[in-house]
């Protein structure tokens, strides 16, 4: 017997069936992968400095990317959802296009704008001698370009769904627009922001095409784990899989820890 409260809504059968199939679909490949991975060489792989370096770089850059995406993406989502700026539809579409670009092309677009010969990159290079490609910031930029739209879209849908009544109440209480935003709008949308951040982080962590195109592949600076895995697949499949499983397990821990903290604090029955 479960501890389910007696009055709680039973899952409609169809939902339960479809949802369960979805779970199986996700679990199966991961399970197969876990079976296939040569766990015995775990110690060797972990001792391999190149691997741990790539792992660290991936973690650091994806976290930085997520932070920047939140800082810039939440305001952008707000503008898209709430302001009446002209051309909003167009801007929204443009800001989500980079998701649709094949990542390699996204990398080319970044080179075309921020590369050594790029529209802006050339200026940066000539004026302050700043060269982005093949540096760690380039990795972050590539991830941002590809992953931030996930945050923007998710958060915008959150803003669109949250009622404006609480915001109105806050304004009548003398709260400035910024105060309303930070103390009412954002907390009321926190589950969407968290979901967006997780999506962005995940997308950034797995980013390969844009990164290798824009940032290249240099150990310690731009060789992220997906790149290391890709190259390892050419030479040593087992190592590559092992590294990936490490990343998966790391993510698992983070995901389990994160979501428990945020979701479910809302609501309550009378």
């Amino acid at each position: 017997m479960t501890t389910r409260a007696r009055h709680e809504q039973r899952a409609p059968l169809l939902l339960a069936v479809l949802g369960t199939l979805a779970v199986i679909f996700f679990v199966l490949p991961l399970f197969a992968l876990a079976v296939r991975v040569p766990w015995s060489s775990l110690v060797d792989v972990l001792g391999n400095e190149a691997t741990t370096e790539a792992l660290m770089l991936s973690i650091i850059t994806s976290v930085i990317t997520t932070a920047i995406a939140v800082i810039f993406g939440v305001p952008l989502a707000w503008l898209l959802a709430r302001s009446t700026m002209p051309g909003r539809q167009m801007i929204r579409a443009i800001c989500t296009l980079s998701m649709v670009l094949p990542p390699v092309v996204a990398g080319v677009a970044l080179l075309a704008s921020l590369g050594r010969r790029g529209v802006v990159g050339q200026l940066l290079n000539d004026w302050i001698g700043l060269r982005l490609p093949f540096t760690m910031p380039a990795v972050v930029i590539a991830q941002l370009f590809v992953a931030m739209p996930f945050l923007v879209l998710t958060v915008e849908s959150g803003f669109a769904r949250s009622s404006t009544t609480a915001e109105e109440a806050a304004r009548t209480l003398g709260a400035s627009p910024w105060y309303v935003f930070s103390r009412v709008t954002v907390p009321a949308t926190r589950s969407a922001i968290l979901a967006g951040a997780v999506l962005t982080w995940a997308r950034a962590l797995g980013e390969f095409g844009a990164t290798i195109t824009f940032a290249g592949n240099f150990p310690g600076a731009t060789r992220t784990l997906p790149i290391a895995t890709y190259l390892a697949l050419e030479t040593n499949v087992d190592d590559a899989l092992l590294i990936s499983m490490l990343m998966v397990m790391l993510s698992l821990v983070i995901l389990v820890a994160l979501r428990g903290r945020w979701i479910g604090a809302i609501g309550g029955a009378r």
Binding site: A166, L173, G174
Partner: protein, 350 residues
């Protein structure tokens, strides 16, 4: 005049058109049927919507003016607003809901909470200060909404049916508080459906119907001469439209003799107090000039009085004592006789 409002605004199919002003320290009640535009009016004054045409000014400051395009946003108007649906912040505790306005004005958390507790104490909400809004009952939530709006000590309070969800004693307490709160530096607008509230709490009453003001006046002015059926009804009076000819008033098929009045032959509104009508089992003899036969449509009974709704030929409410009612041995659907003195039928031009 502290607030001078001339509001014209379209909301869906409703055309809101209301001009009025409020003195410093004055309390104005806004009454009107559902959908008349009361909430819309209050929202416009709060700055949550702008006038299409017109002007709202507070002392020497213009808040909203269609001509010049001036618009002061709500957070810069010294107002407090108790929303009809409370609109509490779901993610904050009761205490932090009340402290919100203070925090927004830059007061530190500790100070804000201390002052919020004082306000909660006053409205009787201290016992659930730690709860989240989702854990409150309907009345508790309304109490918090009131406390939250009061906490910032606004100069103009806007109450949208603030007592509707309160229980009898909480409501009596809230009304007492409302009276006690009156202070020369705070003006108040109170939207209500409760005649007692409007009559006892307000200095003046604005009656709105279909977006337009049908009457503004002090409670006694409205009681003396309600200008529309709705106003009469909310005040608990019977208002009847008819044609006056000398001292004969015809209302549908009925004809009533009216008392002393100015010469105003033609269309009039007649006001009859529920108490001034007597009910009888058999046709009464004696002084009342107006006697007619009718049937009981509904009976509302309370501890001290019984309200009897009569049907054709004259749809009016009559109030009698419980003892008097019991003596009639009547019930819904039964026939009886009604009488009213000519002097108790007051007429006003329509």
């Amino acid at each position: 005049m502290t607030l001078v409002a001339d509001v014209r605004r379209r909301i869906g199919s409703l055309q809101l058109d209301a001009s009025f002003s409020i003195d410093k320290g004055e309390t104005i009640a806004v009454v009107g049927p559902n959908g008349a535009g009361k909430t819309s009016l209050v929202r416009t004054i709060a700055g949550l919507a702008a006038v299409d045409e017109g002007r709202i000014a507070w002392d020497e400051f213009v808040w909203d003016e269609s001509g010049s395009g001036v618009f002061v946003s709500p957070e810069r108007r010294p107002i407090g607003y108790v929303f009809q649906d409370h609109a509490l912040f779901e993610h904050l505790s009761v205490l932090d809901n009340v402290a919100f306005g203070l925090r927004a004005s830059g007061i530190g958390r500790r100070d804000a909470r201390t002052r919020a507790r004082v306000v909660l104490e006053i409205v009787g909400g201290l016992k659930f200060e730690q709860r989240m809004p989702s854990e409150l009952s309907g009345g508790e939530s309304q109490t918090v909404a009131i406390a939250r709006a009061l906490a910032t000590e606004p100069k103009l309070m806007l109450f949208d049916e603030p007592f509707a969800a309160l229980d009898t004693s909480a409501r009596a307490e809230a009304r007492r508080l409302f009276v006690a709160m009156a202070n020369p530096s705070m003006s108040r607008i109170l939207v209500t459906h409760d005649a007692v509230e409007a009559l006892t709490l307000a200095d003046r009453i604005i009656a709105i119907e279909d977006g337009s003001i049908v009457q503004i006046g002090t409670p006694s002015e409205l009681l003396a001469m309600p200008r529309s059926h709705f106003v009469a009804e909310i005040l608990g009076l019977n208002a009847l439209s008819g044609q006056l000819n000398g001292d004969q008033l015809s209302i549908g098929s009925m004809s009533l003799t009216v008392g002393a009045h100015e010469a105003l032959d033609g269309n009039v509104i007649a006001i009859i107090r529920p108490r001034s009508v007597s009910l009888h089992q058999t046709r009464p003899e004696g002084s009342p000039r107006n006697v007619w036969n009718s049937s009981v449509v509904a009976v509302d009974r309370t501890a001290d009085r019984v309200r009897v709704q009569l049907g054709a030929p004259l749809n009016i409410s009559v109030e009698v004592t419980p003892a008097g009612f019991d003596a009639l041995h009547t019930e819904v659907g039964a026939d009886l006789w009604a009488s009213v003195k000519a002097s108790e039928v007051a007429v006003h031009p329509a």
